[in-house]
Amino acid sequence: MRRISWDRIISVLLILPSILAVAVFVYGFIAWSGWVSLSNWDGLRPDLSWAGFVNYAKLFATPRFQIDLRNTIVFTVLFLGACIVLGLGVAILLDQGIRGENFFRSLFLFPMAISFIVTGVTWRWILAPGDPATGRLTGINVLLNAVGLPLSQWYTDPTVIHIQPTGAVGQFLHRIGLGVLTTPNFGLPVAMISIVIAATWQMSGYVMAMYLAGLRGIPEELREAARVDGASEWEVYRHIVFPLLRPVTLSVVIVLGHISLKIFDLVAAMSKKGPGFATDVPAYFMFETTFQGDHYSQGASIAIFLLVTVSLLVVPYLVYSTRREAEL
């Protein structure tokens, strides 16, 4: 029989503490939350008797949660879109070999080093709207007013832009049985745009850094070859650069996507639920219903729901990258 080497034993022993810690503090608590979400625990005293999936059914019937789902989708789409456009744009500009590139790179990257709480408080002050009716203005509205631009209510704007049921499109949707699409639950809460601005300010520098690394990884010979073949500068980007940046975009979508699904601190510091839940997100609802309302099983169902949505995003990515590693 082959002797198990010392090295083997030691390596297992070395890794054992972290395996145990992860097993208990990550997966153990996930399992615990899953159990709580299926229990009758409503009130401070733990009650772990079996309730089944009734908590989830009730959760999806809660108007506040339906609004939260809308807000999460709106936030994710706008936040990702803004970060990618801005990050890629700045990265391409910085890639032109301008002077002081290091300075600008650090400048754009710095906001990422700040915590979302600080960002939230700062932008809450910047975007505080004041009261235009009586001329009492605050924050950025003072600036907008000075240069004669229209004022905004920012994160206090309760408006939800949605398809009007009485309009031509609305009537058509009603006719084909999709009248539900004309309700505010399928609209765009204007207040959310303020949160997107703050989040984009913080994270677009990070996206820039990723794209810049990607751009530097594209061999100059490829571009040269294209130019020799008579491609215009736009065509070089369109056919050479952008396709080669696709893996970077995928990483950006995964990283920012899971941030936006779990976002809590920024919203808590900036606007909380917002007017009529316009800036409410599932994580904030989870916090309130669990620790203020004592609805522990409902809070756990939101937690598990968030975990599942994040896994839907992350797991395929992990599978894809592991497979690619195996191929290489």
Partner: protein
């Protein structure tokens, strides 16, 4: 052994050592130094100063005890309460903690068995005779006393700027009709009639409870919390309609402001009135604003919507003996007379010296003695936290869409979910 093996062995030793250090129990307080940990959300201005006064009194009596001031900032304790719950559920209670008198204390902590009764302390200190009967009723459950009230606050106060009112010949409105007539006049002068700051949504719930009491009177208002008054009834509908109309006169950026920022608008003369609890008085004093006027909000003359901060004794308090002495000071005449003038509230005891208090608090003491006392909703006295959280959600939607029917249905459902209505 190869060099590689030696290196691995070494790192293993280091990891194990680190692990041992990590697992070492946190240093327990040395037995020579006695401690007392007090949990509260009193972090700013008069409330923090008042708390320190109580600590001072305590240390005069027990100089050898080290007091740990465990505070969590945030208006009305909305940030502190979750932190407290996490500690209590985790079996790490503070020695004593601040909790609102009423259902918040009873439903969150007493019925769930986290507190020890204080009957002996009440008997020893003769508190059964010095606290008003209404207060004794609210702090007791199942025939026992569960916490010591330190102060009394009034929720229904209408604050205004005397200078602005005198310059225009205005008088504080006594009825809702007068309120709206006055609001129109203010609007015409370019003054925002009602200042509201509901970045914490409790401020809207607070406004709603004042309107509810002003619409239906004390008895029916109390009935809301016991299931005797119908949430689907006409008075609740009327109150919601009044509130919707009032919100039309409020500053449009109310969801960006806190209650004290709303009060700033009144101080600056940019807004006419604000309806807020009497902690506004302490805010005005701190800001050096001497022209503050106060009155009962429409319909609530003779009604005192009360809330109170109390301290209790959690089961398993690590320094039980010190905690009991702390509660003794909280309920004492000296303690309450030291704390309340600074905090800007009145004593829960009925024997405090009125001369220690400022002009507003003197009037509050007189009203406290003669008015009909009803519990506050937004501040935990009237309903359980689970119920209040649901009402807050209804209010969040209502201040935006002003949909009376939807809000009333939501309120009725919240009462059912709380197990009070059938």
């Amino acid at each position: 052994m190869s060099r590689r093996t030696i290196w691995s062995m070494l790192s293993l030793v280091v990891v194990l050592a680190l692990l041992l250090v990590a697992c070492k129990p946190t240093p327990t307080p040395t037995p020579t130094k006695k401690q007392l940990e007090i949990f509260s959300w009193w972090t700013t201005g008069g409330e923090a100063a008042g708390l320190l006064k109580l600590f001072e009194l305590y240390n005069q009596k027990f100089p050898d005890v080290e007091i740990i001031n465990a505070t969590v900032a945030g208006g009305a304790g909305f940030e502190a309460k979750p932190a407290l719950k996490a500690r209590m559920l985790g079996g790490d209670p503070p020695d004593s903690f601040q909790v609102h008198m009423g259902r918040e204390l009873i439903d969150t902590w007493v019925t769930t068995g986290y507190m020890d009764p204080l009957d002996d302390l009440y008997k020893q200190e003769g508190w059964e005779t010095v606290f008003p009967k209404g207060v004794l009723e609210i702090v007791s459950y199942d025939g026992h006393y569960w916490s010591v009230p330190v102060n009394i606050h009034r929720a229904n106060v209408l604050w205004y700027n005397k200078k602005v009112f005198e310059a225009n010949g205005w008088k504080p409105p006594a009825t809702f009709d007068e309120f709206f007539a006055l609001a129109e006049q203010m609007k015409a002068k370019g003054i925002t009639p009602l200042a509201l700051g509901d970045v914490g949504i409790w401020a809207s719930t607070h406004l709603f409870e004042v309107i509810l009491a002003g619409t239906m009177g004390p008895e029916k208002y109390k009935g809301l919390w016991t299931g005797q008054t119908d949430w689907n009834g006409p008075e609740v509908k009327q109150a919601l309609e009044t509130m919707a109309k009032m919100l039309e006169y409020a500053n449009p950026d109310h969801s960006a402001l806190s209650w004290d920022q709303a009060n700033d608008l009144v101080i600056q003369g940019k807004a006419g009135m604000t309806i807020m609890g009497d902690w506004v008085d302490a805010d005005n004093l701190a800001k050096g604003f001497a022209d503050s006027g106060w009155a009962s909000p429409p319909g609530t003359k003779g009604i005192f919507i009360a809330l109170s901060d109390t301290f209790g004794l959690p089961k398993g308090a690590p320094h039980r003996e010190q905690a009991i002495e702390w509660l003794r000071i909280c309920g004492s005449k000296a303690g309450q007379e030291a704390f309340n003038p600074v905090k800007g509230s009145i004593c829960a005891r009925s024997d405090c010296d009125p001369n220690l208090f400022g002009p507003y608090l003197k009037t509050a003491m007189q009203d406290w003695a003669k008015d009909a006392i009803v519990p506050s909703l937004a501040h935990g006295a009237a309903a359980s936290e689970a119920w209040v959280t649901k009402i807050n959600d209804v209010m969040t939607a209502f201040v935006t869409d002003k949909d009376v029917a939807k809000a009333q249905a939501g309120l009725a459902q919240a009462c059912k979910d709380a197990g009070v209505c059938k």
